[in-house]
Point group: C2
Chain length 438, copies 2
């Protein structure tokens, strides 16, 4: 599974990468050792991790990260919703270039999603610290490695919670009052793991590296993705209201079956994806959470809570697919004799990343001899929030077979190290004022 | 909600019933008081009860029932799977006429389902005890009031577990080893509430009274249903296997969405009920339990466990509907790119109750001046098992609007008392040898 980069001469042309990497064996070995160590926290039997936001395992990962960074002379700070900042002062009084991602995971998630980006950020920052110590002159910005709280949104909704609060999209109080299914609030969970504070980062620019969670880079044989834009997405919390009854004795015409209504909505969502996707504009619909009450074998369900999301690269196609979803929901209300309530909604438009950042990243990849492609991200990332606040660069490394949110999620050591080199180069240029000036 | 029977002169002709009941005011008042007391155990805010099998609340109800019966001189015994027997010896050495139902409930269930039948059995037995003491000669049989363990099957599957073991349809060891979703076995749950034993009842005949859980009696303005037969039913445990993925980043063609497959199966089941139901033969399909893994908002489901059942009055129609369900399941495997596994199956044929018992019950209703009708039961009952072992009579009382497995389940006091009078008359004739002889 772990091949040393100098021996990884697989299907791609790695000649120029090998020459780049040859001088960095010690740093690369340290990175891989740290990645293996970090992956033991919350490890699952199937090779993944379970470190949902605010759990004991998330807390352990945060303290492990704190130890790593403090050991290298960084200062750890937290903000009020538990975003974790490892600070390195290179230019006293200047704002920070932030390098980040998230250490929380899905239940039975992969060990690369988020965690790779934070650790790559840590090692990039350590490298830049050593370069700064050896160089003359002063960098323009300080460096913060950031672990955003609750990117996954599985225990506490919505996803990208920490970066949403940081960028002012969600009030801190609302995030802190959010409950998990057992009634534990974010405030209680964060206090329990002791990682809240009142720090506020003065951020000038942001860069994030993440696994692709799709297969376009792998299919094209590329090492790096430069993320051009996010897809537009509409996310709905639906509640289907039926009436509890006996599955045996209640005749069909008397049934108000919430499970039937919710199931029909799941099927309709897929049919909409199939119908609205064209060669030019893909539509993706999903339902990832579906909870039935009372969920007894002989009871007609009285209620189903489900999340449905609709995503597209094209705003007009998204709007059309969305309208169709709501038309179908009205039909299903009649079909299953249920009431479908639209609860909370979250939407983000298809938006582009900073063009100057794209150019800086392309120049960096060219310098390192890394093959790169322009990609869009279907998944949300913390950078989706940050890019609306400061100039932001989002980088991808390949995911084997595009498998993600799965214990079998995999990015090769060679790809992780290529990404680390890329991130170090990009962040170095940002710290030296190539993307934004003070 | 609770009207005294002498004042309940509603839409039906209660004249003859009133004259019957006038002499039984004390017994009726005692029954209603006991019913109110029993309904406080595991009471829910919505007026129902939550007394799932083997829980603390089920144990409390069992001890309450033990206290009631021991207070009247009955002896309490348990068998190895927790069936609870309140024994009254009237004819030493003779077999028993059993009168029973169940005290366990659905989560957020109604307070009448099962519990009414056990308490009516208790008061009928107490009345027969007093009649026997006052009369000359000896009854032919002894009396056992039975609380069958786990009729509902919501915590431990399958339903009708206690009576299935009693009638030899399920091995005791299999029942005892059955786990609830938290891994607690029936053996552990029964030991925890201390209601297991090694008693074996020598049963000669069985009678059960239960709420209809349908609306045919109410619609026809009748007080009593004589159950002629059960519907045939096939119950399946399906497991839909998909593959965990990211709801945002996994493109549609790469998805193996277990939730989509399971939802399509729920919709197909309803379509089959609609298609195969005719004026002559109704088909009812249901899915009452549906559990999604890992059930996270941004994860394509890897697995859904669901129960589907198909019921019909006609064996040929049932077989045709069943074949269609499996044909549709194969189609859905292709549609959603999932694998659908058929797990455990339970089936029972449409079967008739004892004809002599139907006649005895009709004569009893005529004597009491109670309007009755012949009905079929869609729901399974403990009598479904007992009728395959000994001559069995199954009686229904009306359910308001047919609502059941719901906190709003309701049977009026007048209907409960009419049922009690009916059960006392029927059980008295059985004890005196009118249905079976020693």
């Amino acid at each position: 599974m772990t091949t040393s980069p100098s021996r990884d001469n697989g299907s791609r042309d790695h000649k120029s990468r090998d020459s780049t990497f040859r001088n960095h064996t010690a740093r690369n070995n340290a990175f891989l050792a740290d990645f293996r160590s970090m992956s033991t926290i919350g490890a699952t039997a199937g090779g993944g991790v379970d470190r949902q936001a605010g759990t004991a395992a998330d807390g352990q990962t945060r303290f492990w990260f704190r130890g790593l960074m403090e050991g290298h002379g960084f200062v750890i700070r937290y903000d009020e919703v538990g975003n974790q900042f490892a600070l390195l002062e290179l230019a006293p009084g200047a704002p920070y270039v932030a390098i980040g991602s998230h250490l929380d995971s899905q239940p039975m998630g992969g060990r690369f999603d988020g965690a790779y980006g934070v650790l790559a950020g840590a090692h990039a920052a350590i490298e830049l610290m050593e370069q700064a110590a050896a160089a003359e002159g002063e960098p323009m910005f300080n460096i913060a490695v950031v672990n955003w709280f609750n990117e996954e949104g599985c225990r506490f909704k919505p996803s990208m919670m920490g970066s949403s609060v940081f960028t002012g999209k969600i009030p801190a109080e609302q995030a802190l009052a959010t409950s998990d299914p057992h009634g534990v609030t974010v405030r209680e969970a964060l206090n329990a793991i002791g990682t809240r504070g009142d720090f506020r980062l003065d951020v000038a620019a942001y860069v994030e590296i993440h696994i692709e969670q799709g297969r376009s880079l792998e299919d094209a044989g590329l090492s790096i993705g430069l993320v051009e834009s996010t897809w537009g997405a509409n996310k709905y919390e639906f509640v289907v209201h039926g009436e509890q009854g006996h599955t045996g004795a209640t005749v069909i015409k008397d049934r108000k079956d919430a499970l039937l209504g919710a199931s029909a909505l799941v099927v309709a969502a897929r049919e909409i994806a199939n119908r609205f996707s064209t060669d030019e504009h893909m539509v993706i619909t999903s339902c990832g959470e579906f909870t039935v009450f009372p969920n007894s074998p002989v009871v007609v369900a009285s209620r189903v809570d489900l999340l449905v999301d609709v995503r597209s690269t094209d705003p007009d196609v998204l709007a059309a697919a969305d309208a169709e979803l709501h038309r179908r929901a009205a039909e299903i209300e009649a079909f299953a004799d249920v009431r479908i309530e639209r609860g909370a909604e979250h939407a983000w438009d298809a938006k582009t990343y900073d063009q100057a950042g794209m150019k800086l990243a392309a120049a960096s990849a060219d310098k390192l001899g890394l093959g790169y492609g322009i990609v869009r991200t279907l998944a949300g990332h913390d950078s989706t929030n940050l890019k609306d606040m400061v100039p932001t660069i989002m980088l991808f490394v390949p995911s084997v077979e595009g498998i993600s949110h799965n214990e079998r999620e995999l990015t090769s050591d060679a790809d992780m190290l290529a990404g680390l080199a890329m991130l170090t180069e990009v962040a170095g240029r940002m710290v030296n004022g190539e993307l934004v000036q003070k």
